[in-house]
Structures are given as structure tokens and as C-alpha cells.
Amino acid sequence: MKQILGYRGEMVIEELPVPLIGPYDVKIKVFSSVYSAGTESHRLNGQSKKSFLTKISSYKAVWGKISRFKIQETLAKYRKFKGYYAQLGYSCYGKVVEVGCNVEKNIEVGDLVAAGGESAFHASYVSVPQGLVTKCNGLHSNNFSMVYLATIPINSCNQILKDSPSKVLIVGGGVIGTLASLYLDTKKVKNMILDPNENCIFGRNEKKSWLKSHNEITTKYDALLITTGSIQNMDDYYQYLNKEVHVNILGEIELNAFTKGQIEELYGKISFCNSFGYGRRDAELEILNKNIQPRLKTTSSLNNNVNDAINFLKNADLRKFTKIHSVEKDLTQIDRNTINIFEYRDLK
């Protein structure tokens, strides 16, 4: 079977054995999978020689002098991982071809399903735990592959919507930010995307305004939805938030980007929650800053509602935001600033 892997910072297509299934797994012949621009570009870039060199040069900026030990450590890590293949992808759609002997969910061979999580790779076959597989009927196939990816922003928005905000600021204009904005539109909630990286997918569409810098913000918001790991300083956003703001952090945010002091300062003024989806390495992220995690956990919800994502995608026309790629072709030149969908339909 074919699988798209990250290798030294580039996407490569490799021939691999079909994955095995465990007793609680479902094997799926994949029709399409969606490329999550932020998360996967981050993983790819992290593998590249350039990123290691950048990391080494950053030591000087941080400490004023370069530590030989730190450089050696980073180079050792680079030597170890430069030969590693990274597995990409966490949201796909296809047909069930085999069901594990202990699968309790009502899933049978031949069912059309969406799948998510860390084993829902960009591959022509995947083996996914039953809890991350959902039957889908009647959706456009391209939208199908986005079900689990869309679950992340939609659950996050749902948490914010409990406080009935009138205006929401979404930081990050990647796939997650775009879907969050579209979902809030369906709920008639005013929202604005701020993309400090200037990679806003809406920017390509030009039908919706977006902001490139916090200096362009002219109004105050009731809710802040952070979808990107690029934020280094929450102070940039303070002045644009109303009191009792609901801040929602989602996706692959490294929480230690916020200092402990900033987090504590924010408590009492705003409520915090996170909505890491299944398969989004939530456990790993949540121990990054153990001092704040017990408090964040009290407001976190790990119960992702896949059905809301399905209902949203049933009616959403995402064609203008998406680009379809056949896995037969070279993928090194794809535009990483759009919603890329890989199709495996014709592969044996």
C-alpha cells in the first residue's frame, strides 16, 4: 500500500505493508485524507536540517552566547531523527474492509466511515481504534475526510458558544481557524480571523476580511479562540478583550508558550478551556506545564461530539478552500497554505 510520510522535511510516498488490525481496531481502505496545514507543516519543518540550524542559532538570542553542550545535544538529535520517517495525517474517510474480533461498535465491512486520531494516516489503508471511527452517510466525499479534523474547532466553538458571545476573535487562519470561522458563521456569531503568520486561507478566497496583525484590531471581543502555536505573548491580545472573556485554546499549542505568570494573571479575568481532540497528543501536551494543567483540566472537555462536525460538513461548501491531490503524483510542491485533500481512490 502507499503511505505519505515526512522524510527530512519533505513529503514522500512510500510502499509499505498493509497495517495489521488489533482486536479493537477497524481496517479502512482510504478514499481521501485531509492535510492539516499547521500541524503537519510543523511536523515536516521540524524534521528539516533548516529547523535544526534555526534552533541552534536561536540559542544565542536566548542566552547571549552559544552553549557547546546544547549544540551537541541538538546535533545528536538531528543525526538520530534525520533518517526517521514521520507519519502524517489524522483525519480520513474510506470503506471498512476488516473489523477486529472485539469491536463492539456497530461497524461492519463495507460501511463508509470517517476516522481520526494518530493512526488515521495519509495512507491507502489504515487501522484505527473503533472509538475513532464513525459511520457517515450521504456526505460529499471530500468533506468526509474532514470529519475528525473539523471536530476539533467545532467542539472548541461549542464551548465558547455556551457563553453566547457576540463577537469572537479567531487567532490563526489555517484549516482549523477557517473551519471555526465557517462554523460560527452558521451560528450567526460575528467573528474575525487574525493570522500573525499571514497565511490565512480566507486571504486566498478574498470574500471575507481578516487581520494580519493585532495592531489592526479595532473592536473588543467576547471570546478568543486560539488555533495556532505562533502566539508568544498573550499581552498582545489583552487590550482587545472584554471582561469575562472565554478563551479557548485548541490544537497543537505548546502551553508553555504562555508563562505561568501570564496564565495566573489571566485567571479570574477570563475562563480557560481547551478542546484537544482525540489523537491530538493531548496527554503529552497536558503534562508540558504541570503547574497549570490541573486547573485547565477542570474546564476541559474531552468528549468530542463528532455528530456536530458531520452535520456541519453536510451543508458546508468547502470546494473553494480545498485542493485535491492524487497520491500517484509528486507531493513535494503542494501549497501548504490551503486545505489539501489526498485521494487514494484508484489505488489497489
Binding site: L16, P17, P19, L20, Y24, Y84, Q87, G131, N303
Partner: protein, 263 residues
């Protein structure tokens, strides 16, 4: 000895391969082929496609799998195989334990349970008087079935095994309760606290001494190598471990954790 390691998770990369990679004729396979290929390349081992497990015979199988998948893979192994199970059996409920026992006997398998945390006992030069162990487990709906691996969870089981080893008591003498999403094991007389739950941090204290992860890895690697080489020419510890695990009937309560939700 032609050996197949099944599994390519954190324990394999941090402990097993550093300890055993110089052994001859070592093969590595995993449900996740790419993880196995990465590690096989790093340690110059032979990658094995597990789809072919019924077709090729090995002298020894090292299973580093989620406990609930062990029986599934054992059934593919030839009769009279030597099998190393990475984890204690206590994570199995009584039905699964019975299923495993039937398989082991029907196939005449020579099984050894890793009980790998026992290595850290040697970090103390004194008897264990108290254990305080806390590990972070991402409890979700049916987490046990949707989250593969579960090293943190099984760490808790290892702590219980340590406790058993240290005190040589039956679990009949203990109270096991689920409090605040944590499994709490408290001995009636002896000071013991094993918390398995969404605590947000991992800690292991033996007699008030904090056992660091690094120390644990080093000890674990040495301990594993010694035990593994011993197993290649001796019988495994299955009978004694199974007898011990059978006393863990109260640990069936652990399985009920799948019904817990974070607040």
C-alpha cells in the same frame, strides 16, 4: 537465538533496544510498520512485516503490546514458543486472564512476565517500607480501547506489583477504592499509596526517596538484559506470576475506570 520483538513504542525505544540490540538475529515488527522501520534502521535490526507472523518461526517472541492485545497476538504464535510479555498480567480482567491462561496451556507456551519495575527495587539498599506512586492516565470514555499503548496505566500496575513484592501480602489485606478519578490502593496497616488517575504528573517515591526516570531507565535496561538472557536458557516465571495475578481479583475494579469521565 532468533528473536522477534513485537511492538515499537516508548518502552522498546527507551529500554529494550538499548539493552538488547547487540544480540544476534533480532527482528522488529509492529502494528505500526513505520515506527518499527524507524527503530530497526536506528539499531540496524531486521524489520519484520507482522502480516507474515504465521509463516515464519522464531525461537523467542518479545511482546511489547497493550495488555488487552496480548491474547490476540499469542494465538498466531507456534506451539511451544518462548514468549516474553513486557507487562504484568494485572491489567487483565479475570475473563481475559482466563483466556490467556487457556491459550498458554493449549499452546504449551513458555511465558515470562517482565515485571520490569522490579528493577528499581535495587536502587534502594534497604527494604521498601512505603511506596507513593502517582501517574497520569488520560481517562476518556472507553480510553482503554481508543488509546493504544497505555504505558502510564500499566506503570500503575507495576507499582502494585512492587508493593506486592515489597510486602509479600495478599491483596485481601488492602482496600481498593476509586476516589476523585483515582484508583487508590491503601494497605490496612502499612503505609502505601498508589494513585492511578488523571493527576497531571508522574511521581514515584520509595521510602520517601524520589526515583527519577533516568535512574529508572538505566536500572531497567540492566535488569531487563540480565533477566532476558536468563530466560533464553531457562523457563519463564509464568506459573508464579499467574498465581499472584489470580489473587488480584479485586483489581477487576480497575477495569471499571473506563466508565469514569473527567469532571
Amino acid at each position: 537465538m532468533k528473536t522477534l520483538i513485537i511492538g515499537a513504542g516508548g518502552y522498546i525505544s527507551s529500554t529494550v533496544l538499548p539493552a538488547l540490540n547487540d544480540l544476534p538475529d533480532l527482528h522488529l515488527g509492529s502494528k505500526n510498520h513505520v515506527n518499527a522501520i524507524n527503530l530497526a534502521n536506528e539499531y540496524s535490526l531486521k524489520f519484520f512485516d507482522l502480516n507474515k507472523i504465521k509463516k515464519e518461526k522464531f525461537d523467542l517472541y518479545f511482546l511489547a503490546l497493550p495488555t488487552f492485545e496480548v491474547c490476540h497476538f499469542l494465538q498466531f504464535l507456534p506451539d511451544f514458543s518462548k514468549v516474553w510479555l513486557e507487562k504484568p498480567l494485572a491489567a487483565l480482567d479475570s475473563d481475559s486472564l482466563d483466556e490467556l491462561d487457556k491459550l498458554v496451556k493449549a499452546k504449551n507456551l513458555d511465558v515470562h512476565c517482565g515485571l520490569l519495575k522490579r528493577s528499581i527495587v535495587s536502587t534502594l539498599n534497604e527494604p521498601i517500607k512505603s511506596i507513593r506512586y502517582t501517574c497520569n492516565v488520560p481517562i476518556q470514555n472507553n480510553w482503554k480501547k481508543i488509546v493504544s499503548g497505555g504505558a502510564n496505566w500499566v506503570d500503575g500496575i507495576h507499582a502494585i506489583d512492587l508493593y506486592y513484592l515489597a510486602n509479600n501480602h495478599s491483596f485481601k489485606d488492602t482496600n481498593i477504592n476509586i476516589i476523585d478519578n483515582k484508583l487508590c490502593v491503601k494497605h490496612i496497616e502499612k503505609p502505601l499509596e498508589v494513585n492511578v488517575g488523571a493527576s497531571g504528573y508522574d511521581e514515584l517515591y520509595l521510602n520517601t526517596k524520589n526515583i527519577t526516570k533516568m535512574l529508572e531507565y538505566e536500572k531497567s535496561q540492566k535488569f531487563l538484559r540480565k533477566q532476558f538472557i536468563k530466560f533464553t536458557c531457562n523457563n519463564g516465571n509464568y506459573d508464579s506470576v499467574h498465581k499472584m495475578q489470580s489473587e488480584f481479583k479485586q483489581l477487576e475494579n480497575i477495569v471499571n475506570l473506563v466508565n469514569l469521565k473527567i469532571g
